[in-house]
Every structure is written in C-alpha cells, then in structure tokens.
Amino acid sequence: VTAATTTTSSTVLGPLDAPPQLHDGRLLAAAGSDQAAFRAVYERHVAAIHRYIAGRIGRDAADDLTAEVFVTAYQRRNRYSRERTDARPWLYGIATNLMRRQRRAEARRLRALAAAAAQSRPDHVPGPDAASQADGLEPALHAALASLGVRDREVLLLAALGDLRPGELHLALGVSPGAARVRLNRARSRLRSRLDKETT
C-alpha cells in the first residue's frame, strides 16, 4: 500500500515499442525500467480481464477494478516467474482476490439479475434445444450463483468467464492443480443442487 502518485506526460496508448516476440514473463521482468514492456502486457490482457470483472460485478465498477488489477500486477511483478509465458491466469487471480471485497455487491447484483430475468420472461416455456433451455434457466442460475459461497462462485466463474484451460485454473486460484479440480467439482455439485432447488 503506497500513496498514489502521478505524472503529467499524458501519452495515451501510442505506438507499442515492446518487441512482440517477448512473452509475459520477460516483459514483466523488464517492466521496472521499461514502461512499454508493461504496456504490452496490459494491451495483451486488458480486454479479457475487463470482461471477466464486468461479468462478475458489472460494467460500472469494472474500469476501476481493472486498473487496480494492473496496478497490483505492476507492484508484484517481481514475484512473477520470468519463465511463465502467459500472465493471464495470474492476472485473473489478482482480479479474483480484489473482487473478494465486493462479494456482497456481487451477490446483490446476481439477485437483481435473477429478478430482472424472471420478470422479462415470466411465461417462458423452454423448447427442446439447449439454448432455449438455458434461457429458461437464467433466473434460477443467477439466484443459485448468488446463494453460493464466494469461493464456489469464484472457481465457477473463473472457469466460465475466464476461459482458462484445465491446467491454468489452479494458477489463478493459487492452489495445486488437484485442489483446483476438487474445488471446481465441489462448486459444480453445489450449484447443481441449488439449481434443482430453484427450479422445483
């Protein structure tokens, strides 16, 4: 935790100087003395991180929290292994940790989404196709997600919104691969049971 500081050379996303062949580990290692290297990491991942955050806590708060994620990443860049090529799981992990502060707001938002979805299609009769069935499930799903514990919600939404490969989830959660699988399976079964309760 350090004081915010500022600069007045307000260049905004000019030409990217960092060589494109450098992977994230090398770029983060160079970021201390080369702002362009950190900007390359930012440009590479900001859309995915923003989408994940907006998906969880809404667009209004997503900009601020996305900035917070990259500020934190910059401050912790020395803890990132320079051999790791893709910083995306690590950035998701930072975002997930930061969003723990917002868990009540997230639950409130999910409940509001459930209410809005139920209101918009009160007489929805699901058709035989998967998309239609999923539409009918939306209010219950939001309500079920809201009722889950924050750690269950985290692992489910990381898997769903984060678009992480099976071997990457544990990197975002900061646990072993086995523990990540266990957490995901438990969260899925809890969600399934909550969904059953919501839809019956």
């Binding site: 915010a4 500022t6 939306e138 898997a159 969600l191």
Partner: protein
C-alpha cells in the same frame, strides 16, 4: 453445467466489450499509479541531497525497526516469531482495525516499504511515502535503492486552483527536477485515427492511504492472533495463511488498533516489510518538500529518470 453458465453469462455481458477509448482511459489510470514505483536499475553512489537527508532522518526516527532486515526467503515461523495468545479473536481484532482505519480522515500516513531487489542479492529497495488521509491527491514518495536515494516525487492540488495538480519529480543523482501542472478534467487523447472521446473525462479522486489500507486489511483473512513485541512495545499480531503462495502478518497497535507493520513473504522473494507511522493532520507540511537549494529545474525531455 459449466457450458450453460458460460453461455448465459456470455450472453448477459455481450455488450461488455472494451473499446479503445476505455482501454486508454484505464491505462492512463494504471500508468499514473505505477510509473513512479521503485526502479530496479543499478544506482551510482551519489550522495543524498541535503533536503532529502533531513526528511529521511525524520522518518527513521518515527518508524519501527525491521524484524528480519528484509533479507532472503524465510519460513512463516520466522515472520511470526513467538507470539503469546491474545484474549480477542482474530476476527475481532481485524474488525477493530477496520473501524480504526475508517476513522482516519485527517491524519498523515507514512508508509515505509522495504524489499530485496531481485537479481541484486543483499540490496534492499526502500520506498517511503507520505500521504494525506483528507486529500487523496496529496502525497510524496521517496525511493531509495541500496541506501542511495534515486527519486522523489510529490503532488498536491494547486492552492486556489482546485482541479489542477502540481507535481514535482526530483532526481537526487543529477540534482535536477521537473515541475508540471496538470488539469484533472482534461480530455484524454486517443490513438491516431481513432475518434475523440465523446465527453471530457474527469479523473476520480484516488482513495486516501487509509482507505487503501482498509481495503487491504478487509481482503485479509487472518486465522492466527497473538501478542508480540516490536522494539519492546507490545503489539497485536494477525497472521493470514489462507493463500498458499503468500503469507501475511499484520501488526496492530493494541491501543489504537491501527496497523503499524505488515510483513509479507511472497513466493520467490525475501521478506517485504511495510511500516506504518500515523501522524496528526498538523504534520501536513511533510507531504511536500521543495527541491534542495541548488537543484536545477529541467524539462521533462531532459529529466534523466524516464518512464
């Protein structure tokens, strides 16, 4: 099941794509808050300028001494040190600390952070910041690498011109500084060829130091609590071991419940020690230090410390 969740959420947030203007705006915020963090470059052995030396003495006198000198990797036990049981639970101490931090609306927080420099064994990077808890813009930061001051930055709103920020970056090694004034409500520029933003973007007031620290404490999940001594003074100790890759130990003043030290042991790096000193609002003069007499003002282009 996950496919269904993914499809629904993707549909719900299909309009959440990030356009270039917003990405640029977020980047500017990131850059403003990161560009002046400690550099990891070798520092020539120049003497610290007189004005900064005086400042450093003030801080050293006000801060507690480090537990472990910030050296190499250490097990959690060495961070915790022997602690005696406390009568209150970890959750209760954390709650009281959050309340105490929420009441800091006028004080000045001095934060002294020390950590090893990766690739330079035995060399400690130290940054000290002074931040107002009544004005999120007012702050000063001094960076010392290996005992040599390498950069000082400071910023404040211009007296009589709210919305304009004055900032100074001072490089002790060249004894030069750059002064600038920025309008906090300026229109952001976009990439060449991109349309201009639809409206002017007024920068939000950043959180105060106490608010940031409160958020950090709120995100901790301490499970161990006890008493220990720092420089002979009794302190409450909270240990957060919920993250396997990061252990945190927070030391809290038992009288005020304000944090006075945070020690972290991240993977792959030695101890990071952060000391907090709480000063009354009457010490606001410490937030700003004019460049030393004899320092030369230069343009941004000629300032030797680049982004």
């Amino acid at each position: 099941m996950t496919d269904t969740v993914q499809r629904l959420l993707a549909a719900r947030f299909a309009d959440a794509t990030l356009d270039d203007a917003r990405a640029a705006s977020i980047w500017r915020d990131v850059r403003r808050r990161t560009v002046l963090r400690p550099r990891r470059r070798a520092a020539p052995g120049l003497a610290v300028a007189g004005g900064l030396a005086a400042v450093t003495v003030v801080v050293a006198a006000a801060s507690v001494q480090p537990l472990d000198g910030g050296g190499g990797p250490a097990p959690l036990a060495s961070i915790l040190r022997p602690i005696a049981p406390a009568s209150a639970s970890a959750a209760e101490v954390r709650r009281r600390a959050l309340v105490a931090l929420a009441q800091q609306s006028d004080s000045i927080l001095v934060t002294r952070e020390r950590q090893p420099i990766v690739g330079r064994p035995g060399v400690i990077s130290e940054s000290t910041s002074w931040a107002s808890n009544s004005d999120g813009w007012a702050s000063r930061l001094l960076i010392v690498d290996g005992g040599v001051a390498v950069l000082q930055t400071e910023q404040r709103q211009l007296t009589g011109r709210p919305g304009f920020l004055e900032s100074i970056e001072y490089d002790p090694r060249s004894n030069t500084y750059v002064r600038s004034v920025s309008d906090l409500a300026h229109r952001p520029r976009t990439k060449p060829g991109m349309p201009p933003p639809a409206r002017s973007a007024k920068q939000k007031v950043p959180p105060t130091a106490a608010e940031s620290l409160r958020n950090a404490v709120a995100s901790c999940h301490p499970r161990v609590v006890g008493h220990a001594a720092i420089d002979g003074k009794d302190v409450l100790v909270l240990a957060d071991t919920s993250e396997p890759t990061m252990h945190r130990v927070l030391y809290v003043d038992p009288a005020t419940y304000l944090p006075i030290r945070l020690v972290e042991r991240p993977d792959g790096i030695g101890l990071v020690t952060i000391d907090y000193t709480w000063l009354p609002g009457s010490e606001a003069g410490q937030l700003w230090a004019d460049p030393p007499v004899g320092a030369r003002e230069v343009s941004q282009h000629d300032f030797p410390v680049k982004d």
